[in-house]
C-alpha cells in the first residue's frame, strides 16, 4: 500500500475509505499504462515489420473479422464495467453517511471555512474531530460555490449557496490534514485553506473541555507568560498566523482582503457609513469582536466575528502587535494593481 | 409571367433541383439548431416550474390570456398565408404570391405590436425581469423572479425571431418583385416559409407555457 502510494504520489490515507479507493486507483492506472504502451509498441512493431520496400508498393486488403471485433468490444466493455461496478459501490459508500455520525456544520464563504459544532462552539479554518468516529459535515455557502476537499481522506464535495450538501469521513490516525477549496471562487481561491485536526480519544476529550489547544511547542501566544520571554508583539504575530488573520490582513502596508495593519493604530478611519473614528485599542478590539459594527469604507463585510474564539490573552497580543506597527515604513515597491483591488472587493456583492 | 432574368443554378451545383434539395436540407438542419436553442430555455422553465409550482401558477394567471391567444391566432393565420403564397408561386402566380407574403409580414408586425403592448402593461405594473419593480414588493413567492425572467427572456428571443423572419420574407418579397424569384426557384420562398412556420410553432409552445396551464 505504501509503495503504491509512493509511486502514485498519493498522500497517506487518513480515512477509512482511502485504502480501497487507492487499490482501485492502482488497478486502473496499471491497466492504462499497459494498454497505452501496448498500442504504441504494436504500432511501432508493425511499422518495422511491414516497412515499405519500394516506392510504389501495393498491398492486399486485410480486414477485421466479425468475431475478432466482437471479442474486442466485449473484452473492453467488461473491463470498463468492472471498474464502474467497483467505483460505483465505493461512490455510494463515500456519499452515504453511516447512522449515528457526529454532525458538524460548515459555512463556507470567500475565502474561509467556518465550523459550528453541536455544542455551540465555532471555529474558523480548523476542524477538530475525534479519530475512529464517523463525522458528517452539513455544508452550505454564503456566496459562491466552493468545494470542501481533504486529499488525505479522498473526499470532496461542492458547497453550494442556497442549499445543503453533506460529506462524511472517519479518520483513522490522529494528525492534521489540509483542507483545500477545490472550486474556483475568486481571487483568493487558492488561499481558502484550512485543516482537519484529528485527535485521539484523550486529546479530544481535553479539547472538548478547553477549546483549541495548540501543539505543546507552539503554546506561545496564549497570553502573558505562556512562552517565556517572547515579547507580546511576537506572540501577536503567532496568533495572527494561527488564527488566520493574515489570510486577509498584511503587516507590510499592502492592501488585501482586509485593510493592512501597518500604520493603522492611531490613524483616522473612514467608515462605510461616513463616520470617522480614531483607531484606538477599543476600536481595534471591537473590530475583532463585532466586525460589522464599524466597517471600513472600501471593504466588504467579510470579516468573521472572533467573539468567543479569541482568548483575552490572544486579543491583547494582537492589539499589541497592531500598536507596534504604527510607525511601520511605507509600503515597499509593489502594490497590487488597482483593478485587482476593485475586483477583489466587489467580487461578492450581488448587484 | 416569365422571369425577366433567367434563373440558373449557382455554379457549383449541377442543376437547380440539387440546389433546391440542398437549400431545403440546410433549412431543416437549421431548424434543428433552433429547436435546441429553445429546448434549453424550455428545460430551464420546466425545472423551475417543478421547483416553484405555486409561483409559476401565479405568474401564468397574471398574464392576459386574451392578448396571448390573439397573438397565437395572428401567427397561425400568417403561417397559412405564407404557405398559400408558396403554392401560388409554384403555380406561377407571382402577383398573388407577393401579396400573400406582404400580408404575412404585416401580420408579423401586428404580432410584435401586441407583444409590445403586453410588455408595456407589465412595466406599468412594475414587473421587470429579474424580480425588479414594485410588483414584487407585493408578491413574495419564491420563484416569481425566475418566472418573469424566463417570460421576458423567452418571449423577447421569440420576438427577435419574428423580426428576423419578417426581414427574410421582406428580402424574398423584393426578389419576387424584381423578377429574380419565380416558379423555377420557388424553393427559396419555401425555405423562407419553413422558417416562418418554425417561429410560429415555437410560439405554439410558448403560449400554453405562459398563458394557459
Amino acid at each position: 500500500m505504501d509503495i503504491l502510494r509512493a509511486i502514485l504520489a498519493l498522500p497517506s490515507g487518513g480515512s477509512t475509505v482511502a485504502d480501497r479507493i487507492d487499490l482501485l486507483h492502482g488497478f486502473v492506472i496499471t491497466v492504462t499504462m499497459l494498454v497505452s504502451t501496448f498500442v504504441f509498441v504494436t504500432a511501432a512493431w508493425f511499422t518495422a515489420r511491414y516497412h515499405r520496400k519500394q516506392d510504389d508498393q501495393l498491398t492486399e486488403n486485410v480486414s477485421a473479422t466479425r468475431g475478432g471485433e466482437a471479442v474486442l468490444i466485449v473484452g473492453i466493455l467488461s473491463m470498463f464495467l468492472l471498474w464502474w461496478v467497483i467505483g460505483f459501490r465505493q461512490y455510494v459508500e463515500v456519499r452515504d453517511p453511516p447512522e449515528g455520525s457526529e454532525v458538524v456544520y460548515v459555512d463556507a464563504k470567500q475565502w474561509m471555512w467556518k465550523f459550528a459544532y453541536a455544542d455551540g462552539r465555532v471555529s474558523n479554518d480548523a476542524l477538530t474531530v475525534p479519530v475512529g468516529r464517523p463525522i458528517k459535515l452539513v455544508m452550505t455557502s454564503r456566496d459562491v460555490i466552493h468545494s470542501f476537499y481533504v486529499p488525505g481522506f479522498r473526499v470532496k464535495q461542492d458547497v453550494l449557496p442556497g442549499r445543503y450538501t453533506t460529506l462524511w469521513f472517519e479518520v483513522k490516525e490522529p494528525g492534521t490534514y489540509p483542507i483545500w477549496c477545490a472550486e474556483y471562487c475568486g481571487v483568493s481561491h487558492s488561499l481558502m485553506r484550512g485543516e482537519v485536526r484529528a485527535l485521539g480519544a484523550d486529546d479530544y476529550a481535553r479539547w472538548k473541555r478547553q477549546g483549541d489547544r495548540p501543539p505543546p511547542d507552539a503554546d506561545c501566544g496564549r497570553g502573558p507568560g505562556s512562552c517565556g520571554d517572547t515579547s507580546l508583539v511576537e506572540q501577536g504575530r503567532l496568533v495572527a498566523e494561527r488564527r488566520q488573520c493574515v489570510a486577509c490582513h498584511t503587516l507590510d502596508g499592502q492592501k488585501h482582503i482586509g485593510p493592512t495593519w501597518a500604520r493603522l493604530y492611531g490613524s483616522e478611519r473612514v467608515l462605510a457609513d461616513g463616520r470617522r473614528v480614531i483607531a484606538d485599542e477599543g476600536y481595534l478590539t471591537r473590530s475583532m469582536m463585532e466586525p460589522t459594527a464599524d466597517v471600513v469604507a472600501g471593504y466588504r463585510e467579510v470579516m468573521p466575528s472572533y467573539r468567543g474564539t479569541l482568548t483575552a490573552g490572544e486579543t491583547s497580543a494582537l492589539v499589541e502587535l497592531i500598536r507596534s506597527l504604527r510607525d511601520a515604513p511605507a509600503p515597499s515597491g509593489i502594490t497590487l494593481p488597482r483593478l485587482e483591488v476593485t475586483a477583489a472587493s466587489d467580487g461578492g456583492t450581488s448587484p | 409571367m416569365s422571369s425577366s432574368i433567367p434563373i440558373r443554378p449557382a455554379e457549383h451545383f449541377e442543376n437547380l433541383e440539387r440546389q433546391a434539395h440542398a437549400a431545403r436540407l440546410g433549412m431543416w438542419v437549421f431548424l434543428a439548431t433552433e429547436v435546441l436553442l429553445f429546448g434549453a430555455a424550455f428545460a430551464l422553465f420546466a425545472t423551475y416550474q417543478v421547483q416553484f409550482p405555486h409561483a409559476f401558477k401565479l405568474g401564468v394567471e397574471h398574464n392576459t390570456k386574451v392578448l396571448g391567444s390573439l397573438n397565437t391566432g395572428v401567427l397561425l393565420l400568417s403561417s397559412t398565408l405564407v404557405a398559400t403564397g408558396v403554392h401560388a408561386l409554384r403555380a406561377g402566380h407571382r402577383k398573388v404570391a407577393s401579396w400573400l407574403v406582404t400580408a404575412t409580414i404585416g401580420l408579423g408586425l401586428v404580432f410584435l405590436v401586441i407583444k409590445g403592448i403586453e410588455y408595456g402593461k407589465h412595466f406599468d405594473e412594475g414587473i421587470y425581469p429579474g424580480g425588479a419593480g414594485h410588483w414584487f414588493a407585493e408578491h413574495h413567492d419564491r420563484g416569481l423572479a425566475e418566472f418573469w425572467t424566463l417570460y421576458f427572456g423567452m418571449t423577447a428571443l421569440h420576438a427577435i425571431h419574428v423580426t428576423i423572419g419578417a426581414c427574410v420574407l421582406g428580402a424574398l418579397l423584393s426578389s419576387i418583385l424584381r423578377g429574380r424569384l419565380g416558379q423555377e426557384n420557388a424553393h427559396r420562398l419555401e425555405v423562407g416559409a419553413i422558417y416562418w412556420h418554425l417561429v410560429d410553432v415555437i410560439w405554439i409552445f410558448l403560449w400554453p407555457l405562459f398563458y394557459l396551464a
Partner: protein
Amino acid sequence: MSTTPLAPAASPAPEASHAPGASPRPVAHPSYLGVDTTLRSWLLTTDHKRIGVLYLVTLLATMALGGFFALALRIEHLTPNATIVSAMTYNRMFTLHGVIMVWLFLIPSIPSSFGNFVLPMMVGAKDVAFPRLNLLSYWIFVAGSILVLLSTGIGGIDTGWTFYPPYSSISATAVPLALLGVFIIGFSTILTGLNFIVTTHTMRAKGVGWMRLPLFVWSIYATSIIQVLATPVLGMVLLFVVVDNGLGWGLFDPARGGDPVLYQHLFWFYSHPAVYIMVLPGMGVVSEVVASYARKNPFSYKAIAYSSLGIAFVGFLTWGHHMFVAGMSKFDAGAFGVLSMLVAVFSAIKVFNWTWTLKRGAVALKTPLLYIFAFLFLFVFGGMTGVATASMSLDVHWHDTYFIVAHFHFIMVGGTLTAFLAGLHYWFPKMCGRMYPERLGMLSAALVFAGFFVTFFPQFLLGNAGMPRRYFNYPPQFQVLHIVSTVGSWVLAAGLILTAFYFLWSLRWGAPAGPNPWGSRSFEWRTASPPPKHNFRREPPFEIDPYDYTQPLPDEVYQ
C-alpha cells in the same frame, strides 16, 4: 442559394473535359492561389480552399496566443507564490487560456481549416453547398474572437472557461463581453457544421456513395451533427449568464430561487459533446494518415465510420460525469458513469482499428505518421484516464485537481493538437504545392512529444497528491513537480516554434510537391497541388475506392 454567379471566371462544363481525345498532358491552369491575388479577393472569397486557408492562418495565430498564456501560467508556477504575476492576473490568464484554446482554436481547428479545404474535394464537389454562408461563418468567427480579445483589454474575465454561476454572475470582470464573443463564435460553429452536413448529403459526385467517403468525411459529418445540436444549448445558457451578470436578472442566483447546478447541467450538456467536437476531427485525420502511409485499406472501414456516429450520439448522454461531486443523486451519477464507459468503447474500437491497419501494409515512417504514433499513445493514455475518472469513487478525489488538467491536456494536446499537426504536415503539400523538410519535421515531432510528456505527466502525480486546479498559490511540497512541468512546456514550445519556422521557410523554398507526394488514393490527391479553382479540371473516376491500394492508380492526375 445564390442564383447569380459570383466569380467572374465560369468554369467550362465538366463534360467538356471528359471528352475523348482531351489532351492527356495537363495544361497549366492557375491554381486557387493564383487566380486572383488581391487582398480583397482573399477576404471576400467564397472558394472553400481559400476560406480553409484563412481559417488556418487565423487559428495558428489564436493557438500561439493561447500557448503564450499557457507558458505564462507555467512560469508563474515555478514558485509557490507570486512569480511573475498577481493572483488576479493569473486567474484571468487561465480563463483566457482555456477560452482561447477551446473556442478560438480547438473547436474550429480541424473542421474549419482542413475540413473546409479537403472535404468538398473528398466528396468530389466544386465547393461546399453554401459558399457565401461559409465566408459569413469565417467573419462571424473573427468578430466573436475580437470580442473575446477585447474583453481582455477591459478587465479580462476570471471565472474559468466553465463560467459557473453564481461566481460568473457577480464577478466584476468583463464577463458579458467575453461571453457574447463565445456566443457569436457559436453561430460560426453552427453554420460551418450545417454547411458540411448539407455538402455531404447533397454534393457527392456520381459514384461517391456513403461507403466510399474517406473516413475523414465521416468524422467531420459526425462532428457537424454535434455542432448543430449542442451549440445552441450553450448559446442559450450563456445569454442568460450575460444578462445575469450585465443586467442583474439573476436567473441562476440562489438568493432569488435560482439554481446554479442547473447551469452546470446545461453547460455540460453542450461541453461534453463539445469535447468530441474537438477530438472526432482529429480521429478523422488519423484515419487518413494511417491508411495513406501504411498504403493499405483501413482494418475495418465500417467500424471506424459508425463509431464516429456512435460517439456523436452517445456523447450526448454522459454530461453528468463532470458533476459527480456537485450534489447530484447517486442514481444519476451512476447512470452518467456507465454511459461514459459505453462511449469510451467506440474510441477503443477506433484505436485498435488504426493500429491493425498498419499490419501487412507498406509502412513509410514520415513526420505525419510519427505524430500519429504520439497520438495513439497519448490519446489512449488520456482517454483511459477519462474512463478512470468516470469510475466514480476515483473522481471524488480527482475532481478539480491537476489530474483532470492532465487528463484533458493528454487528449486535447496529445490527441487533437498532435492530429492537427499531423494533418498540417500531411496536407501542406496539397495546400501550398511545396514539401516541408522531412528531417526537421521528425525532429520537431520528437520534441513536441517529449516536451508534452514532460509537461503533463507530472500533472497526473500533482493531482494524485491533491493539488487543486486554478490555484495561484500552492503548498511548497508541490514545487518540484511544477518545475518539471514548466521545463517540459519550454521543450514543447521549442518544438512548435521550430515547426512554425520551417513551414514559413517551405512556403518559399520547399521542394515542389507534385500532385500526389504520398501516393494516396483519396480524391483530394487526384488533382494538382495546389488545386485549381474548381478542384478538378477533369473529374476523376470516383468509382475507385479511396483506400484501394491493391492496384496502381489508373491516371495520377485529373487536372
